[in-house]
Symmetry: C2
Subunit: 797 residues, 2 copies
């Protein structure tokens, strides 16, 4: 793997660039994206250009895109959903003397952009001399409020550096020209859609303006409002121009040398498929009024306070690798941004940082992101599951279309309809339903949220369990088999008895039975009778997990270990990702694995394997996994840590944490990999901390990679906050308040009481044979067989 | 299955309707289509309307259609090819008095259309009274010449029935308005393409005219020319109008009662991707000149002579079922029409009878149609394989794209490029390559065509063998396995070790080795060395054919017999074909079979199974085959006959032979099922005659179904014509000239010498347990367990 993108300073609580790299604009826009789960602003320069993908996104706001299939089939979706780049409120243009500020012209003396994880503010400073020879300093701060869901704000200052200067500041609300946003040959990109926003209403008065638009096909309305506060040492002329697709406030003023003009811009966004144009416009103007009341400083203070609370429950501290420390906090910050205020909407694969994957959500929300949220921001986890629950009617309808019982949730979607245009790697990946069930069970166990358990949780578990009993069948020997489905590994599709799917379905069935036994009245009200419970238990008990007796490893799916091996020796760097250079048919029929599949089962269903099985399975699949998915490194790392390959685990941790900061997959221009970032937390907690939550109990088996001196992390669990500190030879458990908590440390049960630290030694590692990866597919910066040292020279840094 | 379409008289040598059924226009147009493999005219009424799909097709003449994939994948075709409805030369309109002849108006007193299998002429007679009250008789005859590839001709006569009548006859060359030609929700239909013919040249003088057009995207040119001969008792005014898309000759004349006016229209078609507009126009006008010289009577005489020769080598006689007798000859006639003069072009699935399947050719050309042609019109078989050979460069390129060696022929195409838009039921069906090899081997064995064997044949066998060695791999026990491919059964896709594919690949590898050993110089010139031969032999010897020990049957593919059973009890008539009412994922994962797959292996690779295996396998798969493909009945029937279910075989024979005459699949409006019609011959020869040609030797095991009194058929073999007569208790073999021929009769070797009939008794049948079909999927008109009687009441007749 190779790295790209801008180079950031290494510091513990921020990401900062100190130079302008016009070739890395797209990556910067993603890295510096601000979002709160509802509104997302890419980190475009204030002046709007130069730019790459200048997106502004509202969670759930999409346009429909009719699908045309070269050969149509029954049940193929007739249309897809594509995230819309809505009215851009970020733009603040500057005319300095007679030159527009544009960093492609004139001379840039200093340029800095910095995203601070504790303030939640993106700041920017540029010293620039115009082609006419006038010098200015532009400083701005931008936030998307965690406390006020619809609000964003920008504080923008200009200071002349070489004498009095006439300047004009133009603040826009602008509907973007439609543009092509992806690579048409890369299925991971975004579809090109034409202009999709039709004007509904435009308003402007004084310093305030609002535009309302409607999508052509999906019929959704979006409103954006802006208000401004101008502070200038002298007189300022302001004027407002409004038309269908533009509202522009212009401020003209003369600024003496050494003084500054400051514009604070408040933005409010709202969208609805129900509310009228007038109601939406009122909604954003009302939000603006309260934002004005708080003022920039008030909004900034709220933002810091919200983050302080988050970090106090979620921070991960790492001694010994400052890069990793920064990357893990960056990852947690963006995970939070993707989810915190989604409230009834999905968590997209890219959060709201870019248009990649059409803005769709996938299984990674439940499998990779929700565990982090469950233990660090449980309300956001609850909201995300609430969104799934709200789509149950669509999922039931989809199940019926597919000839199944219960609910079949979509592989990819924005609103809830299946949008997958390629069913073998879409509809067939039924494991998403068990992944949702797994997230439900984890959330309930970690929070004791009884109300959720008896309603949302129960319904999700029951309807997904019903799907499994209809999808599976009993074979001649009484085994419960699930045929013709696709597991997590997208380089193997439409197979029988995918081990991961079968084991996750087993958990799904058991959790559904458990909640119905725990909540008999709710279960009865939902139509579950004892016969159904019995059927779930029976299917779960009889689930077949394929095993290759000859090789002594579990089979990813029936027949997998009998497939031809991939010719890794003939596969060079430019062939990866394989899906862009090889046909599916060739990839599917060979033992080449895109991403952890059986190995993910070793993690999430570790209770179904012995330690010896885990070791053998890990080694077998490690040698065949090319990691063409950003979802894989963290899982490989978590299991590597469990079976004892600590250097390897550490390398995977670095890779998953640095996936976006180093642009390891060379595609962050279209948005960040939220699940990979969630994986950076999982590597700390489940990897080096060895945390497992099988059956709703917490267990730990911490081991520190040799390269690190110390690791500590925090977890919320049933209203308590547990802090775990891992040192080379011992682990320390401390409960920050609440009732005592029972947990296990390397298999030993202990009870941790508030305020008392429990310290336990870490047992030594057994001897292990080396494992290998496919040629050239070692984790970034890792040479097989050599212990990794933090700070040693990395080929890509 | 239910029947539809027009009702035809039962007669041995023709298909005739005696009434006008406006609701069955589409079916009539297909049934009465005339073609010679190069030019095809659907059986539209002369006057052009009423009509359904008024097609005129030239083999290989297509427009490109860009594909848009909802989710694109590497190697997906970027565009498809769609047969173009070219300039319509069939139209002859009549103005009788002041009324245009249009059978939707006025009164039809008599109407007859008749296709004669011995003259090859479509005749028509209509007695009609116009809305104004004038009565005329219109008689026409139409032929598409078997002897002159580019020529069609129409003889058109009008006779007033109630007094002198002023009439105008308008003869058109007309470019059709683009129309929608299929059901967008049925993958078996035809894509809608817009207007694709751009005018290049238009010419008209006297009674002669020519139009040249070019397709927009594929850049092919088509020229059509017409000339006319008018015979009228009185004076005739003629005039010619020509513009870009129309050339129209108008003849105005007064015809006395009892007399007639006659127009003979000669048509010539040509197309090219290379030749200029001028050259093409000259080409069709030259062809017209020689057609004029022959005259209508000359063309008709040539046509009869050509057919007389064909029937003398190919006729099948059946005593005891006149309907079946008619249907089998109809089928042979259309099989001949699809192929005879294709010369360097494909044989499309619908011949040139309609736009279904976009006019593409599939594996059924080689597997179902070529065996018939090989034994009845070997030159056409040679030409068809020559077309495949001419596309070798494209097939090599495709293999490279797919990461394979050798050649990968397209699943569906017109010119040679892969046009499949759904790879699991397209590209993955690699068996087409072995099917081509099988057709090559059969042709060579049946003809001793040494020149073909050393060139076209060798190259096709070698390049397909190379494909198999790269597609397959050796497993841990040394078995040769072919994974991730789709067999003939399109309700099971992308599987490991499809038995049919593996066995046909085995034959392919062995035939390639054999031809290279037979023609060492040609093989060496083609780059085959002894190591490669050895590798082919080894792979062939080690091919794995999956077998279920528990059930005692061969497995259609690995794991198939472990799939869930389909719920046939819950599947009613309106659910069929299942592909239109169930998602692929559900169909693929269960034991439901669209069409003979393992059972086709029992036929074509019968040498690889014991008689007991055939019986058990047949019973197992018969119970799970729904026959949603018209390719299946003949194969099920051939094997039913072999294992001894003669009533069942007879029912399948009737079904396959009547598929089109009864419109059993309710889709002949878009063209006939050429392969199903070829199956009507196979049922006679391979079914009731028990003919097999494993290893290039002829064997027979004839048995007459109880419903029949006698069957006889003829075969060409190595320059000789063999006639086989099957009676209830004995079979008679007679060689019509040539060297003595060795064959086997029910396992007994005998030598038949010219002019001497060899008679052998037919051994009695063993006792058999009944077999079953899925509920409601018995062959048309067959009740399971009851012997079928010809002539007994059939629900659909």
């Amino acid at each position: 793997m190779t790295a790209g993108g801008p180079v950031f300073d290494v510091e513990p609580w921020a990401v900062r660039v100190r130079q302008l790299d016009l070739g890395a604009i797209a990556q910067s826009e993603s890295i510096f994206a601000l979002a709160n789960g509802h509104v997302g602003l890419r980190g475009t320069l204030d002046e709007g250009e130069p730019r790459s993908v200048p997106g502004t996104y509202l969670n759930g706001f999409f346009e429909e895109r009719p699908y045309s299939h070269a050969e149509v089939g029954y049940g193929f979706p007739a249309s897809g959903q594509t995230l819309v780049n809505v009215t851009d409120g970020k733009i603040i243009r500057l005319i300095a003397g007679d030159s527009p500020l544009d960093l492609r012209y004139g001379e840039v003396h200093a340029h800095e952009q910095c995203l601070d994880f504790r303030t939640g503010i993106l700041s920017r400073r540029t010293d620039w001399t115009s082609p006419s020879g006038r010098s200015v300093r532009v400083s701005s701060q931008r936030l998307v409020s965690f406390t006020r869901r619809s609000i964003a704000a920008i504080s923008y200052e200009v200071e002349p550096l070489d004498g009095d200067l006439d300047i004009a500041i133009q603040s826009d609300l602008l509907v973007a020209e439609p543009g092509h946003n992806g690579d048409a040959h890369d299925p991971r990109g975004m579809a090109a859609i034409g202009a999709s926003l039709e004007p509904q209403s435009a308003f402007g008065q004084g310093t305030e303006a609002a535009l309302v638009h409607r999508t052509k096909r999906s019929g959704l309305r979006v409103a954006v409002g802006a208000d401004h506060l101008v502070s200038t040492p002298g007189r300022a002329d302001t004027s407002m121009v409004v038309n269908d697709n533009l509202a522009r406030l212009t401020v003209a003023t003369r600024v003496p040398r050494g003084e500054r003009v400051r514009l604070v811009k408040y933005l409010a966004y709202g969208w609805s498929h129900r509310r009228s144009t007038a109601a939406l416009r009122d909604q954003v103007e009302g939000a603006l009024a309260t934002a004005r009341l708080a003022g920039w400083e008030g909004l900034a203070a709220e933002q810091s306070a919200a983050l302080e609370e988050f970090w106090s429950n979620a921070d991960v501290e790492i001694d010994g690798d400052p890069e990793l420390q920064q990357a893990v906090r960056f990852a947690l910050f963006h995970t939070l941004q993707a989810a915190l205020r989604a409230q009834g909407r999905a968590i997209p694969a890219k959060g709201l940082t870019g248009p990649g994957y059409d803005g769709h959500t996938f299984w990674d929300a439940e499998t990779f992101v929700l565990p982090v949220l469950t233990y660090t921001a449980p309300r956001a986890a609850r909201d995300a599951l609430g969104w799934r629950h709200s789509t149950l009617p669509l999922a039931r309808e989809r199940a019926e279309t597919l000839g199944q019982q219960g609910a079949a949730f979509p592989w990819r979607t924005i609103r809830g309809e299946e949008c997958s245009g390629y069913w073998p790697a879409g509809t067939a990946a039924f494991h998403i339903n068990a992944d949702i069930a797994d997230a439900v069970a984890r959330y309930v166990a970690a929070t004791d949220d009884a109300e959720f358990d008896a309603s949302t949780g129960l319904e999700l578990l029951v309807e997904t369990a019903r799907l499994w009993t209809s999808l599976g069948h009993f074979d001649g020997e009484g085994g419960f088999r699930i045929h013709g489905v696709t597991g997590p590994d997208e380089y193997t599709a439409v197979v029988d008895d995918n081990a991961y799917t079968n084991l996750m379905a087993q958990r799904n069935l058991r959790e559904a039975a458990a909640v119905c036994e725990r909540r008999p009245e709710a279960a009865a009200a939902f139509g579950v009778d004892p016969e159904e419970l019995k059927a779930w238990r029976l299917a779960a008990d009889k689930v077949v997990v394929p095993y290759d007796e000859h090789l002594g490893v579990h089979n990813q799916s029936q027949g997998f270990t009998e497939h031809a091996e991939w010719d890794f020796a003939a596969t060079t760097a430019e062939h990866y990702p394989l899906l862009l250079t090889h046909p599916y048919f060739e990839i599917y029929r060979k033992q080449v694995i895109k991403q952890a599949d059986l190995v993910l089962a070793l993690h999430l269903r570790g209770d179904a394997f012995t330690a010896a099985e885990k070791l053998r399975n890990f080694a077998y699949y490690e040698a065949r996994t090319v990691r063409d998915s950003s979802l894989s490194a963290a899982t490989q790392g978590v299991v590597a840590a469990e079976v004892g390959y600590l250097d390897l685990a550490y390398a995977y941790w670095r890779e998953t944490a640095l996936t976006d900061l180093r642009d390891l997959h060379r595609n962050i221009g279209h948005g960040l990999h939220i699940a990979s970032m969630a994986g950076a937390w999982s590597m700390a907690v489940a990897g080096c901390g060895g945390m497992r939550d099988h059956d709703g109990r917490l267990s730990f088996a911490p081991r520190l990679p040799p390269a690190l001196r110390r690791l500590s992390f925090r977890l919320g669990f049933r209203g308590r906050c547990l802090r775990v500190e891992v040192l080379p030879d011992e682990a320390r458990y401390r409960l920050l308040g609440g009732e005592p908590l029972e947990l296990t440390h390397h298999g030993e049960t202990l009870t941790v009481a508030a305020g008392k630290e429990a310290t336990r030694p870490i047992p030594p590692l057994p001897h292990l044979d080396p494992v290998t990866q496919p040629l050239g597919r070692e984790p970034d910066g890792y040479a097989a067989g050599q212990p990794s040292q933090p700070g040693r020279t990395r080929p890509d840094s």
